[in-house]
Amino acid sequence: MRYLMLLRADQPPTPPPPDLMEAIMTLGEEASRAGALLDTQGLAPSAAGGVRVDLTGGQLSVTDGPFTEAKEIISYAVYEVRSKEEAVEWASRFLALHRDRWPGWEGDTEIRRVFGPEDFGPPPA
């Protein structure tokens, strides 16, 4: 099962501690080497080139960032795992790194299953 994880955060106004960055790289490497992490990237702030294209009431509109949500989406990751719980475990490890290394950091990871071949097959006989 494939999962997309979107990390949203309210970051303290200080630069991220170097040991956090190191821990994130280590965990990422571990998850990649385990064959579970397929893809991940950090995202530029919505103030730096973020755009929203919207369709409401038949009207297309384009709005430049920054967006005003309390938390910003700051990275995404794509995991291939055997269960939802395994996805939760990887996400929990990722958040725990922040808890242990960057006081004041708050955020959440939204975990969503990606449709896969199993969703397109015939209904079970």
Partner: protein, 414 residues
């Protein structure tokens, strides 16, 4: 904080179990014992974590729990005095109970890979042990994946562990001279697991994507453990690219959809990208293309074509020629006939296919008459083409495939 469910504990287990078993096997020298100790630790985790929460370092917790069990067990057996001292010493060196195994993890995992795929084991034993020890799958999960009864898988695993013990297979890396053959055995096991998911030989479903995903995960694990081996990346590339076609490989009614007829917009671009990247690593390692890397290069050529007709068939044909040099196979030669038939016209393809008619390995192989039928039809030799498709239909064991062949026989005769 919410308390972890059994499923959550099992998820931690899947992440930690291979390293745990590998570390324990180095300690006790026997994979079977290591696996039993690891299972004991899992049972303890299932008892304690739901009440107490997952410890901060679950891998360390499982390891020290298993080690304490090991000591308990050995204490009860006087004849293992020497090992007890050994384990005791290891525990003294790590008084915190948080074993610092990082230096060994890669090597231990690699030993576990080679032992699980050891040539003294029958193929089904290798497959079951690999999924169990490296994939972290339970016996029940393996049984479900291979559509065999759970006790059968249990027996395969316990027999394999016993064989390793009886034959005194040491928990060691293969000596350099044996590495190529031993690596081939490892890659073959992963390839077999993938293929069982990709074109299931049993059951009602044509594919079982979850088993493909398990094989892919193993292939990626091997890439990290054996980064200097081109064929490891070759196998990973092949599986990533083949898996990318899974969403297009089954029709709405569960029928197989073969490569030329697939809706390529449904191919998984992420997996294709990963496959091409793995293939680039083969190149970066000096471009020593073995059979898996060559098959991956062929798959990549298909992956790069936006439509079947855009395929660089000359390149596919040339790659098959190299593949046959490296690893002769009548099936590869038949595939070359298809590619040459596309690149240079049906006559040229038919000449290659015709030469295979007396090949014993292809006797009873439905795709030989099917390929000939296709080439004959394109040459306008319709009666011969229809006869070939009927032969193909008679030879296949797959009902869905038979229907496809019969339809083509009708079309050729019509």
């Amino acid at each position: 904080m919410t308390q972890p469910t059994h499923a959550a504990v099992e998820a931690v287990w899947r992440i930690e179990s291979a390293r745990l078993v590998a570390g324990l096997a180095r300690l006790v020298g026997d994979v079977g014992t290591a696996e039993e100790l690891a299972q004991d630790a899992l049972v303890a985790a299932l008892e304690q974590w739901p009440a107490e929460g997952v410890p901060a370092n679950p891998g360390g917790w499982l390891m020290s729990t298993a080690k304490h069990r090991a000591v308990d067990q050995l204490r009860r057996r006087q004849n293992y005095q020497r090992k007890l001292e050994e384990v005791g010493r290891m525990l003294e060196q790590q008084p915190t109970g948080e074993p610092d195994l990082d230096d060994h993890v890669g090597d231990d995992l690699l030993r576990l890979v080679f032992i699980s795929c050891h040539p003294v084991l029958p193929t089904e034993g290798r497959v079951a042990l690999t999924l169990r020890l490296l994939g972290g799958l339970s016996t029940a999960e393996i049984a479900r994946a291979f559509l065999v009864p759970e006790p059968t898988v249990g027996q395969r695993i316990s027999r394999a562990k016993r064989t390793l013990r009886d034959r005194a297979v040491a928990f060691e890396l293969p000596p350099p001279g044996e590495l190529p053959a031993r690596l081939a055995s490892v890659l073959e096991v992963v390839y077999l697991i993938f293929n069982e998911g990709y074109a299931a030989t049993a059951g009602a479903d044509w594919t079982r994507p979850e088993l493909c995903a398990d094989a892919l995960r193993l292939a990626r694990l091997l890439q990290g453990l054996l980064p200097a081996q081109p064929e490891v990346h070759g196998l990973a590339a092949l599986l990533e690219i083949q898996a990318s076609r899974l969403p297009a490989r089954t029709g709405p009614d569960g029928e197989p959809v073969l490569l030329p007829d697939q809706d390529r917009r449904r191919w998984d671009r992420l997996l294709i990208r990963r496959g091409l990247a793995a293939l680039e690593r083969v190149q970066a390692l000096g471009g020593d293309f073995g059979p898996y890397a060559l098959q991956a290069a062929i798959a990549a050529t298909h992956a790069r074509a936006r439509a079947s007709d855009d395929t660089d068939w000359a390149r596919v044909a040339a790659l098959y020629r190299v593949l046959i040099e490296v690893s002769p196979s009548p099936v590869a030669e038949l595939n070359r006939a298809v590619a040459v038939g596309r690149a240079n016209g049906p006559e040229a393809g038919l000449a290659i296919a015709d030469a295979l008619r007396d090949e014993p390995a292809l006797r009873g192989y439905p795709h030989l008459p099917a390929v000939r039928g296709d080439l004959l039809a394109r040459l306008g030799r319709t009666a011969e083409a229809a006869a070939e498709f009927e032969r193909a239909a008679a030879l296949t064991g797959n009902a869905r495939e038979r229907a496809v062949f019969l339809a083509r026989a009708d079309a050729a005769a019509g």
